[in-house]
Structures are given as structure tokens and as C-alpha cells.
Amino acid sequence: MELTSLSLTNFRSFRALELTLDRGLTVLAGENAQGKSNLLEAVYLLAIGKSQRAAVERELVSWEAAEAGGYAIVAATVRRAEDSVEIRLGLDCGGGRTNTVIKRIRVNGVPKRASDLVGVLSAVLFSASDIDLAYGAPQGRRRYLDVLLSQTSRRYVHGLQRYLRVLAQRNAVLRAMRDGRAGEDELAVWDPQLCEEGAAVLAARHEAFERLAPLATEAFERLAGTGPALALDYVATVRPIEPGAAPAPEAFAAALERSRRQERAAGMTLIGPHRDDIRLALGGVEVAKHASRGQARLVALALRLAEARLLAERRGDPPVILLDDILSELDERRRGLVLEEALGYPQVLLTTAELALVPPSGLAAARVLRVADAQVLEEVTA
């Protein structure tokens, strides 16, 4: 799929921007802190319904608008395999209470919940902070899986939300039990729902992972060439009864039973998809502990490339590729490889501080836009 237009109002540094977008490669060039990344952030916001980097959503609204109780709007037209949709996401600071932002979403003019927006536009964002996928805490890798699965299945979004809700309630009971404010019978009633929703989340992750792992291994091989292979392992805190299968609700319940004592002491639920991880290893050596930064970077790239491929397969409609300032960290050969692979998708939006970093083969057919001081200008190419 591809964006044919993008419009921003009071979004971060952009007061008003109307942009038509083309297929193929669009290069957003400009010095640091001019707003290039904000453009990609806006597109990704439409894809997954939240910002991948704003700590609070109020940050997304330009300072003046937020102070005045105003609003920001991000809108886009998306041409998909079978139809065309208009997405409009408003962030309203006029709710009266300080720091609250009300999100209003419309798809083709019809109001939608944020959870129903996910995946209307599918996109994959590559950014410099992806190195945390390889080096960082398990949370980042779980989020990677959840965002990917959410873009392929609305059922997953809703199931995960229900799971997290049950989990939060159950943890509140465990805390209350620790303080002597709740009894055993109050805990047990949350378990059937925790097991049912949790097993559904695990089944979906398991099924996707079966395909994702080989895709990532292959992508890494293309990037790294010879050398140790990348192996991915889903580390589950709930073990399946049959090896190779996803844990059923019964397995979940049995595992919960086994962790009763510890969770009572900890005051929180210690097993389930919210505690799982993806273990990444190169030739049997754990990436998080022993890989070089260069290797970790390639691992992260491989995960993103696998994500894009899986999304394209599952949706039958390739995602929009967003490359946020990732070229400067790669050598020339890898820059060429990544761009070549990205250009296998219908639309690529790329930000860079230096045009010279864009491989000439890609640049030749690219549209170049110059971003300066939250303005976007067409670069006249000779």
C-alpha cells in the first residue's frame, strides 16, 4: 500500500503541511532537528495509533496549540490493494484537564476506536533506536511482536487488550492479598480469563513466530554475508504440554498453579506472555550479552526486514517502509543492500542528514524533499 497524501496541522513543529506522496523512494533531506523524523512519526502514528517515541501524547501537539487548548491533526489518504481510505487522527488538548489529550480517529469519516485503527495503514519503521531490539530489555522485543501481530490481526489487538486488563486486575488482587485486604477466592476468579486470553495471545505469537524466525535468519544472512547465523528462540514462561505446540489454557492454568507461592510473595503475576522474550543468538552466542554494536545493528535491521516481509505476506498488501536516519550507521555495502531490499516495497520514505549517504542507484529515481525549519520544499534535481 502507499500514502498518496499526508497533511499535518499543529503536529509537533509543523503548523500546517500538505504533502502529496508518490510511489517509490522519497528522500527527506535536511539538517538535524528540522522535523524530518516528525514526518515519519506522523505516518507511523496513523499505522499503529500511538507514537513510538513520545512519552506523553501532548508532546505531539505543537506547544502553542497545546497551551491554547487547541488540537493537532494528522491525516492521510492511503491507496491499498483493493481500496483507498482516508485516515484522520486528531489530538485534542481542549478537554479541560491539564495534560489530557483526547484522541479522535476517523476512517473514511467514520469514528473509530484507536484499537480499530491499527493496521488500516500498515507500515514498518526502521530507526536508529532499533538497536535496543538486540541489546535492550525483553519488553522491547515483546512490543516488536505485539505491534507486528496487531497490524496483521484486529483480533490480536482486542485479545491482548483483554489479557492486559485481566492481568492488571489480577495484580491488584495479588497486591491486596499481600496487604491482607483480599482472600484466595478473589484471586481464583481471574484465572480462567487470564488463561483463556493468555493462551490465545501465545497461540497467535507462536504461529507468527514460526514464520518470522526463518525470515529474520534469512534477512540477517543477506546483510551479514558469511559468518555466524542468527537464531531466534521464543522464550515462553508458560511451557506447552506438547513440544512445538502453543500452550493451551490448561497448560497456562497448570503453570499458574506452580507459580502461586512466588507470585504471592512478589505481589504480581510472574508467568504469561507479558514476561516472555525472544532470545537472539549468533552462532550460539547471545546477542544481548556478547554481540558487537555492528552485529547488533544488523540483527535489528534483520528483525525489521522480517517484520516487513511477514506483514506483506499476511496482509497480501505490502507495508509502507519508513527508514528514519539509519543510513549513517551502516557501511556503503549495507546501505546498498538495505535500500535495495526496501525498494522491493511500493513506497519508501527515508530521512537523512546527508544526501551523499543515499546509494546513487536509489537516489537516481528518488524524489528529494528538503526539510528545513518545519517546511518541506521540493528539491530541484538537475
Partner: protein
């Protein structure tokens, strides 16, 4: 309803007469009323004829004074027992357990149910410190042993908290030997399969019936 922060400086503006500011403040506490709506309502009330405003004030005052919880079903009522509990023509063997008084109204409007009710006044919600003992569950068990009830219909909302509360009630009721049923979950009448969310369709499928 969660507690609200005090109104912004706008509401306490010196150009506002203190009684008006107080009214706006009170209206803003109501669910679904933001600061702007509170202001609009306040000025609407100011322009109201005095007797209408007095009638409104009196209605608000008397609703607290003249209502109580029904000693049997815990619904909000003027007379105890309430009209439904006092109506001997109703089926005394079926008891429908609901979350809120408004749910009784919703079921009564359908006209298909002729049994009795029991209002829990909430659901188990540990994050908001609402446990089973904060709901009218103990009263329910007393009724089940004292009254000739044979079937208990659980009509909680299909939310995470509603389901858990239903499960909790079922666990307590099961040893007493009553038949326990729950409302079906599925597609809205007049709805379009295509536009229903996945979970609803899935639940409707699980709950399919002979036809």
C-alpha cells in the same frame, strides 16, 4: 466516576460571580460534563424561570431524601419493597442478577422477563479497590436460601470485570443447587455481520443455536 481536578483558572475568573462559579463547579463534577458544557448549562439555568429552577433544585434534593434501596432486590426505590418485588404476579422462581439499577430498566423495557431482580451495584474491580464484599452479593445468597428461587440468570456486562463477577457469583451459587444461566453474547439485532468486531462474531459463533 473518578474525581476531577479543580476547574481551570477560566472557571474561577474574577469576572464570574461566585455563585455562578460554584454552580459551574458542581455541574462539572457530573459524568460526561466537561468545563464548556458546565458553563453552558450554568447560564441556561440562570435564564430559567425561577419556579422551574426551584423545581429542578427540589427534584435533586428529594431524590436523595425520598429514595432508598429495596430491602430485597437492592434496586433504588421509593417504597420498600419495590414495585417489582411487591408484584406477586411476577415469577418468584427466577432471579436475574444485574450490575446497576439502570440494567433493570433496560431489561424491563423489553417486556420479555417476568421474574425478579437482584442489583449488585457494581462489579469486582480490584484496581479501583472494589472487592466482592463491596457488592450486594451476601444479600443475594441470603435470598437464594430464603426464597423459592430455582434459576439464577447472570446478566453482567461482557467486560473483563463483568465476566469475573459472574464467575464469582456462580461459584457461590453452585453449591446451593440452583440452575445458573447467563445472557447470550452475540450479534446485535439489525447489525451487519461484516461490521461486527471479531470478538463479537467469535462469541456469536460459539453460542450458535439449533435452528
Amino acid at each position: 466516576m473518578t474525581s476531577r481536578e479543580p476547574l481551570s483558572s477560566e472557571a474561577a475568573h474574577p469576572s464570574l460571580a461566585p455563585p455562578v462559579a460554584r454552580l459551574i463547579e458542581q455541574l462539572h463534577k457530573l459524568p460526561g460534563i466537561g468545563p464548556k458544557t458546565a458553563q453552558r448549562l450554568a447560564y441556561y439555568l440562570i435564564r430559567m424561570p425561577a419556579e422551574e429552577a426551584a423545581a429542578l433544585a427540589q427534584a435533586i434534593g428529594s431524590v436523595k431524601e425520598q429514595t432508598t434501596l429495596c430491602g430485597r432486590c437492592r434496586n433504588i426505590t421509593e417504597a420498600d419493597p419495590c414495585r417489582i418485588c411487591a408484584d406477586l404476579a411476577r415469577d418468584q422462581t427466577v432471579l436475574c442478577v444485574v450490575q446497576e439499577p439502570l440494567d433493570v430498566l433496560a431489561i424491563e423495557r423489553t417486556g420479555v422477563y417476568h421474574g425478579l431482580y437482584h442489583v449488585l451495584h457494581g462489579v469486582i474491580d480490584p484496581m479501583r479497590n472494589v472487592g466482592p464484599e463491596d457488592l450486594h452479593i451476601r444479600d443475594l445468597l441470603t435470598r437464594l436460601t430464603d426464597e423459592p428461587i430455582t434459576e439464577v440468570v447472570l446478566a453482567m456486562n461482557p467486560t473483563v470485570e463483568g465476566e469475573t463477577t459472574a464467575l464469582y457469583v456462580r461459584q457461590l451459587v453452585a453449591p446451593l443447587g440452583h440452575k445458573v444461566t447467563r445472557l447470550a453474547r452475540g450479534l446485535p439485532v439489525g447489525g451487519d455481520l461484516e461490521y461486527a468486531d471479531d470478538l463479537t462474531v467469535a462469541r456469536a459463533f460459539e453460542g450458535r443455536q439449533d435452528f
